[in-house]
């Protein structure tokens, strides 16, 4: 079996100290294989966003262990010195709203990541165009963000998350603003991309429409995760 794309053991996160301390995560365990798309569901305040922020290396857990593609990135302390580079090269982000940069056109929104990684502009743009084409928005490469529909904007944001071919993508309620048809389209695209690039994708969602599409689900409640088999319906 291939090395897990994400492996988390006993991850905990405490906010505050003393009487005001809040344990947002109380020992999360999770394992996701490359090419897998799993759902992460749970009620508000259950710790979904905290887990996503820990996985995204934007907040530091209190304890536990996290490994990406077999390499520990956190083991009761960060094991990498440059978290910015870690996020840039190894983690993709898809947000609830597309959050594209409004003053860049479609190509440059996607090409920005490889450019930040040091790729020359022409190569970065070519890479972005290929990714946009793979997501069926290759005809909108020169468009401005405001000229795109909601669904197109979300595809562009997925292209941005995948353009550096990271081992994991964290999707924070990516279908929330979309209707059923578009939401299912986004999930189908995420599944296709996960297969194509062997990327592990965690989708945080409340969306009843898409929950049945996951083969595996993690429920999070009171800071703990519980794994459950999903229905795995075709999106």
């Amino acid at each position: 079996m291939a090395q897990p794309a994400i492996e988390i053991n006993g991850l905990a996160k405490r906010y505050g100290e003393g009487d005001a301390a809040v344990d947002a995560l109380k020992g999360v365990d999770m394992m996701i294989q490359p090419g897998e798309v799993v759902g992460l569901i749970g009620p508000s305040g259950s710790g979904k966003s905290t887990l996503l922020k820990c996985l995204g290396a934007v907040i530091e857990p209190t304890s536990g262990r996290m490994a990406l593609a077999g390499k520990a990135i956190y083991d009761n302390g960060w094991k990498v010195t440059d978290l910015r580079a870690l996020r840039r090269d190894r983690i993709g982000f898809v947000f609830q709203a597309p959050y594209l940069i409004p003053f860049l056109n479609v190509t440059d929104n996607v090409a920005l990541l490889p450019m930040l990684a040091g790729l020359p502009n022409s190569q970065a743009r070519e890479q972005a165009r290929q990714m946009l084409a793979a997501l069926d928005v290759g005809h909108r490469t020169q468009a401005q963000v405001r000229q795109l529909s909601g669904g197109e904007q979300q595809r562009v944001s997925i292209a941005r998350a995948l353009v550096n071919e990271p081992p994991i993508v964290l999707a924070d309620e990516p279908t929330a603003p979309l209707d059923s048809e578009r939401a299912l389209t986004v999930i189908r695209i995420l599944n296709q991309m996960a297969q194509r690039f062997q990327t592990a994708i965690i989708v945080v969602t409340h969306d009843e429409k898409i929950i049945p599409t996951f083969k595996r689900l993690y429920h999070i409640r009171d800071g703990r995760t519980f794994e459950a088999a999903g229905e795995g319906r075709a999106a």
């Binding site: 979904k48 966003s49 905290t50 996503l52 922020k53 995204g56 934007v58 907040i59 910015r84 580079a85 996020r87 840039r88 090269d89 982000f93 947000f95 609830q96 959050y99 940069i101 409004p102 003053f103 860049l104 440059d108 090409a111 920005l112 990541l113 450019m115 930040l116 990684a117 502009n121 941005r160 964290l170 924070d172 309620e173």
Partner: protein, 397 residues
């Protein structure tokens, strides 16, 4: 790497340009203030250049004739001419007054001079020099007077026979040149009623009207109706003469004060216009602070409007340096637009200022550097705010 600042500016160029224009008008006012100061200094230097003099001889212990009143007997020039090194001498009077003409009133500096002697206008742009002993005038074009126009000064009418340019007082008032005798009369001679009254008072004074001293009263009364005073004697020196030495001789033997051109420069710039210069400097400081505050506020607001984008940029791996550079470049871009607008505006409105506004290229360069520095400093607040943006803000919850 994409220039994020340029893309952001191009994306919202209308807002950016209008903001730059607003800032530019403020910078234009700042540059104009600097131009007004330069104009004051230049007016002073032009004033010294008018008479073609090397030495200014004035009443002792005064800073005359421009910074303080000065009165010198009009026959002093004869003895001054006898000093070795003095090539020419000319009596000159100065009096700032309001005169009426066909289209209204104008404040002028009335200059009495002797044609052919130091103190006469150096050049004319229209008309002819004064050729008669009385009632002819040469006016600076800024006075609004035209050739052959007739103007009334005190008791007499004068014909404007010549026009000149850039001949103004240190206060910027245009000069009106008239023959010395006329100017002395204007400055020192009282009106008829006052003279009759003065004569009666002298006649009633037993000290002046002594029975045993025939002619005393007439002599006193005559002295009251004539003026033999001037404000300054301008000296032109021989080419090989040492002006400091000649000035020293005048101070020592003639009991008068003599100033060289360097002394007069010092008096005009460091003393006469010093208060105005300080006033203008204060305006410059205030306007610079206001400009910096406005730039800081604009850039800060623009940055706050981009908090989500900045959070996303940080989350996907943009360096703090990239984000800081974007904000700095925008602030500098605003400064560049502002400076271009300001410099253009200052050049456009300078001619309609009542006082001379001199916009020097050197000041423009210094102004540009100052604007860029202010913009760079003003961007610090916004950069600090941007660097405090948490990348986690891009992730909901």
């Amino acid at each position: 790497m994409i220039n994020l600042a340029a893309r952001d500016i191009l994306h919202g160029w209308g807002k950016f340009v209008f903001t730059g224009v607003g800032l530019g008008l403020l910078i234009g006012v700042t540059l104009s203030m600097a131009g007004i100061y330069r104009g004051l200094v230049d007016d002073g230097k032009a004033l010294l250049a008018i008479g073609g003099a090397d030495l200014w001889v004035v009443q002792r212990d005064t800073l005359g004739p421009y910074a303080e009143p000065s009165s010198v007997r009009d026959d002093a020039y004869r003895s001054l001419l006898g000093i070795p090194g003095v090539a020419a001498a000319g009596n000159v009077t100065y009096l700032t007054m309001q005169i009426e003409h066909a289209r209204g009133e104008v404040r002028v500096m009335l200059v009495g001079f002797q044609p052919g002697h130091p103190g006469e206008p150096g050049y004319l742009v229209a008309g002819r020099p004064i050729t008669r002993s009385h009632y002819e005038a040469i006016a600076d074009m800024r006075s609004g007077l035209s050739l052959n126009e007739r103007i009334r000064i005190r008791r007499h009418e004068y014909a404007v026979v010549g026009l000149t340019r850039r001949m103004v007082s240190s206060g910027g008032d245009p000069m009106l040149f008239v023959p010395l005798k006329d100017a002395q009369e204007v400055q020192f001679l009282k009106d008829n009623d006052a003279l009759v009254n003065e004569r009666a008072r002298s006649a009633a004074n037993p000290a002046f009207n002594r029975p045993g001293v025939p002619g005393l009263l007439e002599a006193v009364q005559a002295s009251q109706t004539n003026s033999h005073q001037v404000n300054v004697v301008l000296l032109r020196l021989a080419p090989d003469a040492d002006e400091t030495r000649v000035a020293e001789q005048i101070r020592r033997w003639k009991h008068l004060e003599a100033y060289t051109r360097a002394d007069m420069d010092e008096i005009l710039v460091a003393k006469l216009i010093a208060t105005s210069a300080r006033q203008i400097f204060m305006f410059l400081v205030i306007l610079s602070v206001v400009s910096a505050t406005i730039v800081a506020f604009i850039i800060y607001t623009m940055t706050l409007n981009k908090v989500r984008e900045i959070a996303v940029l940080k989350l996907i791996g943009a360096r703090n340096r990239t984000i800081a550079l974007m904000i700095l470049q925008q602030a500098l871009g605003l400064g560049v637009i502002g400076f271009i607008v300001g410099r253009t505006a200052a050049a456009l409105w300078a001619p309609i200022f009542p006082k001379y506004v001199l916009l020097l290229p050197g000041d423009a360069v210094r102004g540009a550097l100052l604007v860029l520095l202010i913009c760079a400093l003003a961007s610090v607040v916004a950069i600090r705010a941007a660097l405090r943006v948490d990348p986690a803000a891009a992730i909901g919850g």
